[in-house]
Symmetry: C2
Subunit: 530 residues, 2 copies
């Protein structure tokens, strides 16, 4: 007799609970009246003072330095983060702490051997990456209890560089929505405000990093899946160009990407320099030696030019009007950059609807049948946010349509290349969405702000700016017609969106990821006032 | 009343003849009894002694140095090559000599301004590249008299670097065969032995360079179209990895390549260092600034490692047995490398038939209908060599077959990556074909030796080794069955293949084009005994 999907999910969730040692169990009922959970890890008493210090006061680069000079042992760092992983969907503490101890032992045994670049760094992983003995469900019941037997290629390399994996984080069923909800592990909430979405598809990463249950994690992005959770949770995120960071050996929800727009893997972190470090370590590792899908693009150690930066500012996508807090974020950033001597050029995008049709075409080339097939295998229902995207109802395409798509995509990329170079841009700033984290399951298919850069294959980063303020009053400023006005009205004012982060997206040119990483650090320092 | 294809062709050929000034006309009847025409340019009396010196005694790098230090003017160099272009299918001498004069004038007017990297260098172009006012027929009557209005992106860059274009060279109808025969300009012969093919699809380049009517030219390659003519004509050729050299603004015969195996542009030349120079100039020009299809891979100025090189040697493709002269070439090369301290590793390829099925799949995804459509537009017949490939009879594929193909191709690339790295190869040597230039229209679909490296996207170069020798007696050594024996028997002995060049193919790893270029120069010096 086959097991129902409900039984599989219940068992999976019980397994996870059982893995949490009693000392790390949280009495969730104590916090149910709150919508902002960010301070719970510090308040709840699970962590010692030193553990609070470790998890609160350092970013990845800072912690690496502390472990390198011996101020913290790897074991105590890893243990502290294990104690904090309230939002991870799968955990493997015992293995993580054992590995931490063994790193400490090896170091003690040979103090001359140079330490690897990520010595002792705890890194969280989106559920789709593979770790032996752990599931990679990508939110489908049919992949629950199908334990991976080896690491994804990227994970292997990070381990060689000294990383410690300790948990995997939640995602949406299919990976193709901005709400990290699935029938296996349930929904990931936004710790800034639990009535809002944590974003997706790397929603678990975003939420865990916001709570400092992780300081750096690996997500993936084919339309915004790194940037949307970074935005919703107010963390830093970096979506690389395609073909730089290995996705090999990762569980994929479909197979469309091999012809059209490719998914990419990239980091989310508490600070920009941690994302830059991950990109540097990845490119220096020459992952093309392990994955023939990658381009041989080196990390070159470039520096910023000795002149003012020139930054394009795009207020909106010409289809959906940013809500008051998002408009304010762009405006404040623009002023700060201007005051700091950065040359700011207002830009308008054209053909956005036409370009987005190409992105949806790419996602649905094969009729998106694999998603439905995966649901049918267990009999699980489609979650609400998947239904809202409309993705699985799209018809299959023929070879001539596919070839027309590739030509049209190149045409779009040519338009952007010309815009970029004719203005001599160092980067472009645009909101990552027309809204802050919206209410649960309201995101739908509004992905032009992020998805455009997947279609163009331009790298793009998220940096947090501020939060919804009491002055962000709702208004009737929707500019782009009925559909726009409908979404715009969802912003019902600062009380309902209390504590929701505002962020900006900083975009670089295709395969100029290293340059984007250093430009982001520079702009971030200006924007944060460092 | 529409013009017949025969009339169009006759008029096109007459136009070409009319463009040749009387002083450069050759009395072809004087040489009709010869099969080896290589010495005709020197003997015929068209060139002065100084012009013979210019065209015979320098490669591209040497000529650039002579022009740079003022020993030769650009005008006299360009004029000398114009006088020698007996095999070009389209010529534009007046424009070339005018441009040469203007380069000389500009230089005289400003002796301080640094000269561009290719100052004054005459470069021949395969017919598919576009030059304003000149046709880009790709061997179809329907494209005759459709004059281009602007340069291809690559040509624009070469011009900015000081190149002088003076002719375009012959190709096969469709660009998809190894016999450069078409109804517009007729057939390009092999100047080493006119009973043999000049190869294709960049056959005109190979033949012109062999006669030193050009010292460097630009071809394209999707299955061997640079390497096959370099092989047939005993010149140097360099097929880059995909996405490094711009094909934008070039006339393409079909559109299949945008999803499957991509065509690439690359140089043919009289010496290896000229090809390396072209690759360096191209990569340093950052063509991705003009063509968004390109990868941002820099020229890094790398040097060879301080250890013996390790070279894999592949004797054959496991399907067709190399004929005696080709076996001898590989053997001699292997011995010379061994004697010079190079580590030589015999390797056998596996899955070649399966991999080649993928290549043919790629070429025929859309049913290869564009070829037929282009013929039907003028009513011209299919040439014999196109018919022999069987390409245009293949059925169209659906999206699931296309996606399966992309996954299978990655599988094949993974196999080669693992082979390469597990042996720690610096390069791999393999014949470019199982035969020297065969008789006219006999090549057919035997393209595994070159086409494999397009499927893998590995760069590959051709260097000449020697010629068919009287000792290369035919034998019955075919190893791979009936079909193989049939082809093998075509080698009827040294008399019929007199003067046919033998060459080897040197293969590098994907996107490691710069490294391959310097390895080729090193191995070439050993093989040629320099």
């Amino acid at each position: 007799m086959s097991t129902s999907w409900q039984e599989i999910a219940a068992k999976k969730q019980a397994q996870r609970e059982a893995l949490i040692p009693p000392k790390w169990r949280l009495d969730a009922s104590k916090y149910q009246s709150r919508s902002n959970l960010l301070n719970v890890p510090v308040e709840c008493g699970i962590l010692s003072g030193r553990q609070v210090d470790i998890t609160s006061n350092y970013d990845a680069v800072g912690l690496l330095a502390q472990m390198r000079d011996g101020s913290f042992s790897v074991e105590e760092v890893v243990t502290a983060f294990c104690g904090l992983r309230h939002l991870a969907n799968q955990i493997f503490f015992d293995e993580a702490i054992e590995r931490a101890r063994s790193l400490d032992r090896e170091r003690a045994a040979d103090s001359i051997k140079p330490l690897p670049k990520l010595f002792g760094l705890p890194i969280s992983l989106k559920d789709s990456f593979k770790v032996p003995g752990v599931d990679a469900t990508i939110g489908f019941i049919c992949f629950a209890n199908d334990k991976s037997t080896k690491h994804s290629v990227l994970c292997d390399m990070l381990l060689e560089q000294g990383a410690v994996f300790y948990c995997k984080t939640n995602i949406p069923q299919t990976l193709m929505t901005a709400d990290s909800d699935n029938n296996v592990f349930g929904r990931c909430l936004n710790p800034h405000n639990t009535s809002l979405t944590a974003g997706g598809s790397s929603g678990g990463e975003g939420a865990l990093i916001a709570m400092r249950g992780s300081i750096v994690g690996i997500g993936t992005d084919i339309a915004g899946s790194i940037r949307i959770p970074a935005h919703c949770n107010g963390t830093y995120g970096f979506k690389p160009s395609a073909g730089l960071v290995s996705l090999m050996g990762k569980r994929a929800p479909g197979r469309t990407g091999l012809v059209g727009v490719a998914p990419v893997a990239g980091p989310l972190a508490t600070f920009a320099r941690a994302n830059a470090l991950i990109m540097q370590v990845v490119l220096e590792a020459e992952l093309w030696r392990r994955d023939s899908m990658l381009n041989h693009i080196p990390w070159r150690g470039i520096t910023l030019p000795d002149r003012p930066l020139k930054i394009g500012i795009v207020e909106d996508d010409g289809q959906t009007t940013p809500t008051p807090p998002m408009r304010r974020a762009i405006q404040e950033v623009s002023e700060k950059l201007n005051n700091a001597g950065v040359e700011v050029v207002p830009l308008k995008l054209t053909h956005v609807k036409q370009d987005m049709d190409l992105l949806w075409f790419s996602f649905s080339m094969d009729g998106a049948k694999d998603y439905i097939n995966s649901m049918e295998r267990s009999g699980e229902p489609m979650v609400n946010s998947v239904r809202k995207t409309g993705l699985v109802a799209m018809p299959e395409k023929n070879i001539h349509e596919v070839l027309d798509f590739t030509i049209a995509r190149i045409g779009a990329q040519e338009r952007y290349r010309e815009m970029w170079l004719s203005h001599g841009l160092d980067a472009l700033i645009m909101p990552p969405a027309p809204f802050t984290a919206p209410k649960i399951d309201m995101w739908g298919g509004i992905i032009a702000y992020t998805g455009l850069w997947n279609l163009m294959d331009y790298p793009a980063a998220i940096i947090p700016v501020s939060k919804v303020s009491p002055n962000d009053k709702p208004d009737g400023a929707a500019k782009y017609g009925e559909e726009d006005a409908k979404f715009y009205k969802e912003y019902t004012g600062p009380d309902d969106y209390e504590d929701a982060p505002t962020t900006i997206q900083i975009v670089g040119m295709k395969q100029e990821d290293e340059y984007l990483a250093i430009v982001v650090e520079k702009l971030d320092a200006i924007i944060q006032g460092w």
